[in-house]
Symmetry: C2
């Protein structure tokens, strides 16, 4: 089992092989065994296979080819719609139109999503997470007809792997794990933590291709710029307001 | 593997058995193989075993006994501190002090947390998620000395199970899974979806013990009230501002 988790790769190219609907339902059933707040199960998953609807989703994901190429696209949503409707139908006044409720259900949504991915990988499927979901939530809400109190949190493309890419590197444990309390980093710590990454041929080429001097500059100036992050922050906050999770 | 995931239970009581530090590090290493945005690994885990520090964390988690009883408490944090420091040390201007960056790293944090939990369960350990983390983030920030751009997202208590409780129920798939696009629910759908839950002896007793008439009223009036949700919404938004993720 640890071996399966340790072998994880993001799969962006899929074969033509169809995923059996019974298998997909079995994996979803397994995903919903994950822990969730108060057993409210305040999440939903929109399973999209129809080429027309994938086409409508595609621009929200900046036309990344996985959306159209993957046999199945799963949009995992924080969802207090069903639970609130149940409350109203049973003489209870729901109070889940707020940011804390969004956070709680977003957490539950992601635990279910990751459990789904691990379940899928255990039967030979491959997955890719799309971070564009929180960039263009409004467009996804429109394409999938999501009602109030439903916000997409992440999207997974799913299929049988057409090839198995190399594994990406990871930082040493000392970069991530703090013992007892948080120990902040000295400049020497930072040099040591990033030394292996910065000295690798892969990243040297990556920096050169992006015409930058240092690896972090590729992130700040090209891939995840302050300007874009701020633009998409406003956009996602607006989506939370539009769906009723934020005043 | 599906069997392991399908057998998941939240474990709130632990034996005295110590967790070998090498095993814990192996599980953490496995957790960080999970997918993450741009391979930035913008998260951290504070591993707390010291009784004094657990004591300081305890009120933030409403003194739930797992914090003191579990041999290990893991606080999973969205963390752009290290990455931003690296940027600054390499002539790059970080732009991760915004809500979109928080969401992206919170998502990555939760995928790592759930992978950790599954890895832990695969070697016979038991876990409990504490939703109180986003209620009292400020107090946790203080107890664990978290710097700016670090926000706790979830907490896991970990240990060898002292007993294996019954599994909790789950809603039928039709409550969660939507085909192609979102299909909203009719009153008849809602009655059908919740019928099994509402007719179970367990929940009938739960409603009676809480002196309520319907099951949703236990949630809205006792467990997750509008008043508390709104109070903790403001508190978490304040923590995001304090740590620099929100203007």
């Amino acid at each position: 089992m640890l071996n399966l988790l340790n072998q994880h790769r993001t799969i962006r190219k899929y074969t033509e092989q169809v995923i059996a609907p019974e298998l997909l339902d079995e994996l979803l059933t397994t995903a919903f065994r994950a822990s969730n707040t108060g057993n409210m199960q305040a999440y939903s998953v929109v399973v999209t296979t129809d080429p027309d609807i994938k086409q409508q989703l595609s621009p929200a994901h900046f036309n990344q080819p996985m959306i159209k190429q993957a046999p199945v696209v799963l949009t995992f949503c924080a969802d207090y719609n069903l639970f609130s409707k149940w409350c109203e139908q049973r003489q209870a006044e729901p109070g889940y139109d707020n940011f804390q409720s969004f956070m709680a259900t977003a957490i539950d949504t992601l635990l279910a999503a990751q459990t789904f991915c691990i379940a899928a990988e255990s039967v030979g499927l491959g997955i890719c997470y799309l971070g564009t979901t929180t960039y263009n939530a409004q467009e996804i809400i429109e394409a999938l007809k999501l009602p109030k109190l439903v916000v997409p949190v992440t999207t997974i493309t799913l299929g049988y792997p057409a090839d198995i890419p190399e594994q990406t590197d990871r930082l040493p444990l000392e970069a991530i794990v703090h013992r007892e309390t948080y120990k902040n980093f000295t400049p020497t710590d930072i040099d040591r933590i990033y030394a292996e990454k910065e000295s690798s041929d892969f990243y040297k080429q990556f920096v050169a291709e992006n015409k930058k001097e240092t690896l972090p500059q590729v992130f700040t100036d090209v891939r995840y710029t302050k300007k874009n992050n701020e633009f998409f922050s406003e956009k996602f906050l607006e989506a939370l307001k539009m769906q009723g999770f934020l005043k």
